[in-house]
């Protein structure tokens, strides 16, 4: 029954035009980035290598598909949550807006099962979004720019990873990026349980992301104590897989913090949905 419900929820997501906004936006943005890199990518790279070029010269294919994929993911991964919230923030409140929630709850299944189905459908949508982003960045990037070693741009320098050592890092990075996006999906679903219209949860999710990102970026001592607890700090944790050596501690910490957020927020959503008075 759970899988049938989840399948139904997936059909609902697929039927809504807004579900394609995110995929369309990713396609357009990545296409623009790939075009810009094809035309002027070497100047972009020179901006990074310039401090070294006084005494060193870089040989080999630096501007390759792996670097492009890394740059695209880096640029977009902090914006994708906003596109995900467009759909996941509407999962419960959208039913209330359309007046179908009463009908939905007359089904002979528990409210918990219904919410879990919606959540699984939201997670599947998030997966498709991220998979599309990876496809555009990695596969199309490699088709246009070829392959080669990956030059990772870190705040403290460059890490050059062997081409053969890159794929597993992308795969694991994909996993951790997915976890952080699932966390965003959980947040918007939770807001969705508190609201009877779609705009509220979507805007609230965006507001929380923007607020937390600003706090994470502020270099003020009083805020530094709070920063480790903000989930926005961990949205870019996938980059830890591209450190050499891989910072296992940072990855475990990120996974832990995101996991706690997911479990905590989903528990709140379950509690609220089970106790919710259906008035629409």
């Amino acid at each position: 029954m759970l899988w049938k419900n989840t399948y139904n929820e997936l059909i609902k997501i697929a039927a809504k035009p807004r579900s394609y906004i995110g995929i369309g936006a990713i396609t357009l943005i990545v296409a623009i980035i790939l075009f810009a890199m094809k035309i002027d990518g070497l100047n972009f790279i020179a901006f990074v290598t310039r401090p070294f070029e006084q005494s060193l010269s870089f040989e080999g294919n630096i501007l390759n598909g792996n670097l492009i994929a890394f740059l695209v993911l880096q640029m977009l991964i902090i914006h994708v949550p906003l596109l995900i919230a467009l759909v996941t923030g509407d999962l419960v409140s959208g039913e209330a807006t359309m007046g179908t929630v009463r009908l939905l709850l007359t089904k002979p299944v528990s409210r918990t099962s219904i919410l879990v189905s919606k959540y699984l459908a939201g997670c599947a949508y998030t997966f498709v979004m991220l998979l599309w982003l990876m496809f555009m960045a990695l596969i199309i990037g490699k088709m246009l720019f070829g392959t080669g070693d990956l030059m990772v741009l870190n705040v403290d320098g460059l890490t050059i990873l062997d081409e053969k050592d890159v794929f597993w890092r992308f795969a694991c990075g994909f996993g951790l990026a997915y976890l952080s996006l699932v966390m965003i999906a959980t947040l918007s679903l939770t807001f969705s349980c508190f609201s009877d219209n779609s705009i509220g949860p979507i805007v609230s999710t965006m507001a929380v992301i923007i607020l937390f990102t600003i706090i994470s970026n502020l270099d003020v001592p009083v805020l530094q104590k709070v920063q480790p607890f903000l989930f926005t700090n961990y949205i870019v944790s996938w980059r830890n897989f591209f450190d050499d050596p891989v910072s296992v501690h940072a990855i475990l910490k990120s996974t832990g913090v995101l996991g706690i957020h997911i479990v905590g927020l989903f528990s709140v959503a379950l509690y609220k949905f089970n106790k919710k008075d259906i008035l629409s």
């Binding site: 006084q54 005494s55 530094q224």
Partner: protein, 233 residues
């Protein structure tokens, strides 16, 4: 009074004579070194490059290096490789045009067990990129064991040379470059790093540091008549 004047004239003459002699002998050392290098019309060599730089982390890479007189140089690499800009062609370039420089013997110094002669090279022209070149020359083997080139464009790079299979051509089997790396900071927009650890790393990365690049050269193929198309990009 008369004897005093004579003494001054003698001293000036002696100084000038010594300076000219020093310059002649410095040119002699450099000519002897270049005499060996001049025999090399072209070469290709396999190189293993190990980079030990404060702001760069990478595993050693294997590349193939091509060189042809005059000044044709190419590094062929499937991997990303980092090569010192003053690495291979600049030294022979200086030695080839040594008449464009003033060379002076500065003294002697031991490198390992070998007694070397230090020769300083200063360009005659104001427009030269090179500001100062220092060479530690083994006068017996006629080889440069250490060099330090200071240029306007590339800063200072020190190089230690080790010889083996191609001593007769004056081509080294290993080179160790010491490079100054200026402060390094990538714009935040290019890293998207917002964690506290990243901020800490960013603060640490601003100091000026020294790096080392070790190049092990093997499988030399000298004077095989490399065609010019090898150097086309």
């Amino acid at each position: 009074m008369k004897s005093g004047r004579c003494l001054v004239v003698c001293c000036v003459f002696l100084i000038l004579t010594l300076q000219v002699k020093s310059q002649n002998s410095a040119n002699g050392y450099l000519d002897a070194v270049y005499g060996k290098l001049e025999k090399v019309k072209d070469y290709s060599v396999q190189a293993n490059i190990k980079v030990d730089m404060p702001f760069i982390r990478m595993i050693p890479v294997n590349v193939k290096i091509y060189f042809k007189q005059k000044g044709k140089f190419k590094v062929e690499s499937k991997s990303i490789a980092i090569v010192p800009r003053q690495g291979f062609d600049q030294l022979s370039g200086i030695l080839a045009d040594i008449r464009m420089y003033t060379a002076v013997v500065q003294g002697e110094e031991k490198i390992g067990e070998i007694q070397t002669t230090m020769v300083n090279v200063i360009p005659l022209s104001d427009t030269s990129d090179i500001i100062l070149g220092k060479f530690w020359i083994d006068p017996v083997q006629k080889l440069i064991l250490r060099s330090q080139l200071t240029t306007k464009s590339n800063g200072t790079i020190g190089t230690d040379y080790a010889y083996g299979s191609q001593t007769s051509f004056g081509l080294p089997d290993a080179m160790i470059f010491s490079v100054d790396v200026k402060k390094f900071r990538i714009p935040k927009v290019m890293t998207s790093s917002i964690t506290a650890e990243d901020k800490e790393k960013s603060k640490k990365s601003t100091e000026k540091k020294k790096g080392k690049i070790t190049i092990i050269l093997s499988n030399y193929k000298v004077n095989t008549g490399l065609p010019d198309r090898v150097f086309e990009k």
